[in-house]
């Protein structure tokens, strides 16, 4: 990069920024620079910076100036003011949501300042489609070292010593897994990179593949060498066209350089990688289903043992690792096991990557040392709850995970502590919820997802989740029965106990944790037919606050059910007929003065019954 004074303009081309308009932004900047006759400026495309919510993101190096939300129309100003006259455009700076203060450089933005990036270190700083960029940034330094200096067993030992645990969900020690596989004699072994990433809302793996594909390829080469596999597969979902395209380019470039193919890096070792596009079923991320899918069958899990490390793809020993696990490997080789083990906690060394979403001010891709408290992630990096709302719960681990309430905010985030609290690390989804989220409805949402995604092979998962969903739907629609809660728990146990694969075994988790930490919400729904979060439509009531009403009649005009009485001219107050009201919320939305009040009053005379049921 060097060449001081020479400016580099980085335009993020991650999927998030592209969808908020980064392509026209890039073109406009390019055009502007050409027109302005600026020659000393280099344009650069990169993968995701992680701050997707504020996209399109443009960074001017070496100043480190960070512009967010740069649309086509803003480009002229950047060229004129910043590039030509050295005057950064303050209006495009990121503004601290807490103070409203503009912040000029990304180093100062809390979102970045509080992170520790190992896996994501290069994301947003290199052009993923240019292999030299990757090489300059330090990728492909570990692999040749391994070939010349470390026998396979030493590589495995190093990974074991580093204590690296799988980032795909279960956190199985990676070195141990490699060791199992290395010890099996076979004519052929395989390494598979699991980039199925089926959790709703998760985009960590996609972003890494888009931003720094070579880092993942290098991890696979090292893994292949360590276990004795000469073939690698990347199982990527077909809905990730950009990641697949960039991976394809990266593989091609690596082959040209002799990093893949025969005698890689001039060693004795052959290794090549094939991309396999999955059809996008959630269950295909489960390793045995994934193998079945590559073999051309339907993605259905099978029982382990035998574990893939012993009998995997085409019956051969196979190591399957998550994208992040593999992307971490070269850094461990480069900087040593001690360095890695020194980050994070004793049992969960290293960093954790999360896709932070939901009701936080700063959504995006983040990386923190293991053991970072939830509070720091949500409030310091995430900037707290949007619109001054109140924190209610955080969900980790996607549909297999759990929901943790406020009292867990100081829980350090690692495999053990999350599991102890009833949730899981998962592969890195983190959804923050405020008071407007109904926990019953949330559980219903996740269960709806898992029961649709169940492969249908085993009965507890296929039918159990359907029965649970049925009950949750009843509860949300005000048809809950007193014994529904115990029924839910019984079903949850049956599914956890009896299911074949992780999907079924963890599917009840969202229900179990919300029942544990937010039982009062379930009880309000069931016994009082009341939704405290004012979310479940069937239990809502709308009425007009006469004190606030200005008698404008907008509500009446917009009500599709003709449920509002009143007259503007005759000054008859507006009132909502609860029997006619279909609870669509239109009046609530359109009232210019907020006079329509949404409540969930519930049924009071159900209390006796409730007390009875409680006994």
């Amino acid at each position: 990069m060097g060449n001081k004074g020479r400016k580099t303009i980085i335009v993020c081309q991650g999927t998030g920024c592209v969808s908020s308009g980064a392509t026209p932004t890039y073109k406009a900047l390019e055009e502007g620079i050409r027109k302005a006759g600026l020659t000393d400026i280099q344009m650069k495309l990169t993968g995701c910076h992680g701050f997707c919510q504020r996209g399109p993101i443009v960074i001017i190096e070496p100043d480190g100036v960070f512009y967010s939300g740069v649309q086509e129309k803003n480009c002229e100003e950047i060229v004129e003011s910043h590039l030509k006259n050295g005057q950064p455009v303050e209006g495009l700076f990121y503004k601290d949501p807490a103070t409203g203060q503009p912040i000029a450089t990304y180093g100062e933005i809390p979102f970045y300042a509080n992170q520790e990036r190992i896996v994501l270190a290069r994301c947003g700083h290199i052009n993923p489609e240019v292999i030299e960029d990757s090489i300059d940034s330090g990728i492909y330094r570990a692999a040749p070292r391994v070939f010349w200096e470390m026998p396979p067993a030493a590589v495995i030992e190093e990974i074991k010593k580093a204590g690296l645990r799988g980032r795909g969900g279960a956190g199985f020690p990676t070195g141990v897994k490699w060791g199992f596989c290395a010890n099996v004699e076979a004519d052929q072994k395989y390494i598979i990179c699991n980039a199925d990433e089926g959790d709703p809302g998760a985009f960590m793996d996609r972003s890494i593949l888009e931003a720094t594909p070579h880092q993942v390829l290098e991890g696979m080469i090292i893994a292949g060498y360590a276990i004795g596999a000469t073939k690698g597969y990347i199982y990527a979902r077909a809905e990730y066209p950009l990641a697949i395209k960039r991976l394809g380019i990266a593989i091609e470039q690596a082959r040209e350089k002799g990093f893949l193919g025969r005698r890689v890096f001039g060693s004795e070792f052959d290794f090549d990688i094939t991309i396999f596009q999955g059809a996008g079923a959630f269950v295909c991320g489960e390793e045995t289903a994934l193998i079945g899918s590559i073999e051309g069958g339907r993605g259905m899990p099978r029982t382990r043992p035998p574990f893939p490390a012993v009998k995997g793809l085409w019956g051969r020993p196979t190591v399957i690792n998550n994208v992040k696990t593999l992307a971490t490997v070269p850094e461990i080789i480069n900087r040593g096991a001690e360095w890695f083990a020194g980050i994070g906690t004793e049992k969960s060394p290293g960093t954790a990557v999360f896709a932070l979403t939901g009701k936080v001010a700063n959504c995006g891709l983040i990386e923190v040392p293991m053991g970072t408290p939830l509070r720091k992630i949500i409030f310091d990096i995430g900037g707290g709850i949007v619109d001054g709302g109140r924190f209610k719960a955080v969900q980790t681990g996607g549909p297999s995970g759990g929901c943790l309430p406020e009292e867990f905010l100081d829980t350090p985030v690692d495999f053990e502590n999350l599991a102890k609290a009833g949730s899981i690390m998962g592969s890195g989804g983190m959804v923050v919820m405020d008071e407007s989220t109904c926990m019953v409805d949330l559980a219903r949402y996740f269960l709806d997802f898992t029961q649709k995604e169940s492969c249908g092979k085993c009965v507890p998962c296929r039918m159990g989740t359907k029965h649970m969903l049925e009950i949750l739907e009843d509860i949300c629609e005000g048809r809950g029965e007193p014994d529904d809660l115990s029924k839910l728990m019984e079903l949850a146990d049956a599914i956890k106990e009896g299911s074949l694969c992780g999907l079924g075994q963890t599917a009840p988790n969202p229900v179990i944790t919300t029942m544990k930490y937010f039982r009062h919400e379930y009880e309000a729904h069931v016994h009082e037919k009341r939704c405290p979060a004012l979310k479940c439509k069937a239990m809502l009531q709308y009425h007009v606050n006469q004190d606030a009403c200005k008698l404008c009649g907008t509500c009446k005009k917009n009500c599709p059910a003709d449920a509002i009485r009143g007259d503007k001219k005759k000054k008859i107050p507006f009132e909502i007929d609860v029997d006619k009201c279909i609870r669509c919320g239109m009046c609530h939305t359109v009232c210019p003065v907020g006079a329509v009040v949404k409540t969930s009053p519930g049924i009071v005379n159900d209390h006796e019954e409730a007390a009875e049921a409680a006994n």
Partner: protein
């Protein structure tokens, strides 16, 4: 054999036992007489682990393990039944009953259903979960098999059977989660699908979801405990597949294959559409009493005595009038060796017939002539060698029509062993999977095979010959593509180290048998298999063709070469005569007697006497395998219709009336004679 395997000590239900390593907990329990219920597990199929009925407690773990897919470990402590386990199994059953509408009252399988039995066993008498079923379709488009999705428990046994046993790969799972549905191909109806109607899916289905279209209502026939079962074999094509006949009230309800997990028979005991369904079909009108042609030309029922007397008189008269050549004896090669031996002796030694032949005599003569040209006596290859071949060339044969299990085995070997298969000729069920397919034009067949012989043997050695062959191939093949396929087949044949050739004598070369000879020669040149065996499987048209040919029932000389017959005895085994040549030969006779289980429709105007005989399920007898090396005993499964006498009685009566002493006084004697001749 097991001495060098270190046994594993485990504890099941408090009992310490020693078992083989690597087996499942389920197997270990069963070997030790401990019952664990199962649904998706089937001993002949790969383990699945889906239904979770077979859960057990392992080392006190809170998570129950499916015993069918959990291997034993040293020292493992297994509990197969306690309250928690039973409760878990009940929950599964309730889920299943709540998932689809299992309306037992109208189910063909009721009484013979594994789901129903389990509900009794686990005493599920009501559901604690709500019924959530939608209405599912029932597919009755096929003439053989129906599938009622309302009774499907998605155990996947049918899917595995269709792939692992039949090799058809028609069935699969469609959709996800609770919307799962068993589908054929890409959601075709059964009729439109590539289903081969082998019915193995029906046999393994634990419920009434897949049932046949013939005698659907097992339920009205009582529970399976009330049926008799007879284990016998299917004699219809020479593969002698073991078959289990379920009988009630002298009616065959169903026929099952003797499915096996191991490869003791490479077809793993499946049955084909013929073996499973042919008997269940109503084919024609049974002949239950003898019939004679009256003065007015019509056939009328008559007593056995009169019919036999008349037949014997007319045959004797014919012999007297014209010496030996006057009588022809024609038999179906579907009869047992015993019936054939007796028939042969009665016709030959007894009546001095000028011609004794089988309905497939023309096939025999082609094979016979080719064999006579060999340098040493050789055996035909057995179909059981198919899985070992590295290349299979099928010429003119259509195994799915003649020996369907052979086609199943070829399909499986393509998938399981990646064996290259080349097809020359028509072959609807195989060519989607075959490496090569070349159409066969009738007139050119012999030239084409001759060219193949030349090219495959001279490949790369003789340039002049190669050029000549290439020229010929260009002429014979319809297109450039076909020519390229031809050369590729020739190369594959020449490179194969363990090839097998499959053909049928009659199909390609009715008039000109030089093509058949070329193929025999080609397989001879590829080296012999152990035991002086040629690399050639010859598919034959009838179930006991090999037996009949070996017993000399088929004539080496062309029929009629010793002079025209004036009387003929036609001994049918259930078929109708439709061959125009044969019909022509049978017209203009002075006397024609047909012994047949059915009224022979095409001969109704010609026959003078019709004598009823049993079908093969109604008689005992031995059959000889396709390659002529094995003999199997086929048991009687049901009684013939009342009034029908068995073959032994009919032939004995004719012998007695024509004054012939055959040398066997009992059925047992015939068996011994046949056995001796078959070299067993």
């Amino acid at each position: 054999m097991e001495t060098n395997v270190e046994k594993v000590k485990i504890t099941i239900d408090g009992k310490e036992v020693l078992v083989d390593p690597g087996i499942s907990i389920l197997e270990a329990a069963r070997q030790n007489g401990i019952h664990i219920p199962t649904l998706c597990h089937h001993p002949a199929l790969s383990s699945w682990g889906g239904c979770r009925i077979c859960v057990v407690e392992v080392d006190g773990s809170p998570k129950l393990a499916a015993s069918c897919v959990t291997p034993v470990r040293v020292g493992v402590v297994v509990v197969t039944s306690n309250e928690r386990i039973i409760e878990s199994r009940r929950t599964i059953l309730e889920f299943l009953f709540a998932e689809r509408n299992h309306n037992c009252m109208i189910c063909a399988q009721s009484g013979d259903c594994e789901l129903q039995k389990l509900a009794y066993e686990l005493q599920v008498d009501h559901l604690t979960v709500p019924a959530l079923f939608d209405e599912f379709p029932t597919d009755i488009t096929s003439a053989y098999l129906a599938i009622d999705h309302n009774r499907c428990i998605l155990c996947g046994r049918c899917v595995r059977a269709c792939q692992e046993i039949s090799g058809a790969r028609v069935l699969n799972f469609n959709n996800r989660g609770p919307h799962n549905l068993i589908g054929l191909d890409l959601s075709e109806t059964r009729e439109a699908s590539t289903c081969l109607n082998c019915g193995v899916c029906m046999q393994v289905c634990p419920t009434g979801a897949i049932y046949d279209r013939y005698r659907t209502h097992y339920a009205v026939k009582g529970h399976d405990t009330a049926w008799q079962t007879t284990e016998s074999l299917c004699p219809q094509c020479g593969l002698m597949c073991p078959a289990i006949f379920s009988v009630h009230d002298n009616t065959v309800l169903k026929i099952d294959g003797k499915l096996e997990a191991d490869d003791s028979r490479p077809d793993r005991g499946q049955l084909c559409y013929k073996g499973r369904f042919e008997v269940l079909k109503t084919i024609g009108k049974r002949l239950t009493r003898p019939m004679l042609r009256n003065g007015d030309g019509t056939l009328a029922e008559e007593s056995w005595e009169k019919a036999l007397d008349l037949t014997a008189d007319r045959l004797r008269a014919a012999t007297r009038a014209k010496k030996g050549a006057a009588i022809a004896g024609l038999a179906s090669s579907m009869h047992s060796n015993e019936a054939l031996v007796f028939f042969r002796d009665l016709m030959g030694r007894g009546l001095g017939a000028g011609c004794i032949d089988t309905l497939d005599g023309a096939h025999f003569r082609i094979v016979h002539r080719a064999w006579a040209g060999l340098d040493m006596p050789l055996k035909e290859a057995s179909w059981k060698m198919i899985p070992e071949a590295d290349h299979i060339l099928i010429v003119g044969a259509d195994p799915y029509q003649t020996q369907p299990i052979v086609s199943s085995l070829i399909r499986r070997t393509i998938f399981e062993n990646r064996t290259k298969v080349s097809v020359i000729g028509q072959q609807a069920d195989l060519f989607p999977f075959a490496a090569h397919h070349l159409p066969l034009k009738e007139g050119d067949a012999s030239l084409l095979i001759k060219a193949l012989l030349d090219e495959a043997t001279d490949c790369g050695t003789d340039d002049v010959k190669m050029a000549q062959a290439a020229e010929l191939v260009r002429k014979l093949c319809l297109s450039e593509t076909d020519a390229a396929v031809f050369h590729d087949i020739a190369r594959t044949v020449s490179e194969a180290s363990n090839p097998l050739f499959i053909t049928v004598a009659g199909l390609i070369t009715a008039a000109d048998d030089s093509g058949f000879n070329s193929l025999v020669h080609l397989s001879r040149l590829k080296g012999l298999l152990p035991g002086s065996t040629l690399r050639l499987i010859i598919l034959k048209p009838f179930g006991n063709s090999s037996g009949a040919w070996k017993l000399g029932l088929a004539s080496e000389a062309e029929p009629g070469s010793k002079g025209q017959a004036t009387a003929c005895v036609l001994f049918l085994a259930g078929e109708q005569v439709s061959d125009p040549d044969l019909l022509e030969r049978l017209t203009g006779l002075d006397f024609l007697v047909v012994i047949s289980p059915y009224i022979p429709e095409s001969l109704a105007d010609m026959a003078d006497v019709l004598i009823p005989c049993p079908l093969w399920i109604e008689e005992d007898g031995t059959y000889t395998s396709l390659d002529g090396t094995e003999t199997g005993y086929k048991k009687k499964v049901i009684e013939p219709p009342s009034g029908v006498r068995d073959s032994w009685q009919i032939l004995s009566a004719l012998a007695e009336r024509t004054g012939f002493r055959p040398g066997f006084d009992t059925w047992n004697d015939v068996c011994k004679a046949a056995q001796k001749e078959m070299g067993g």
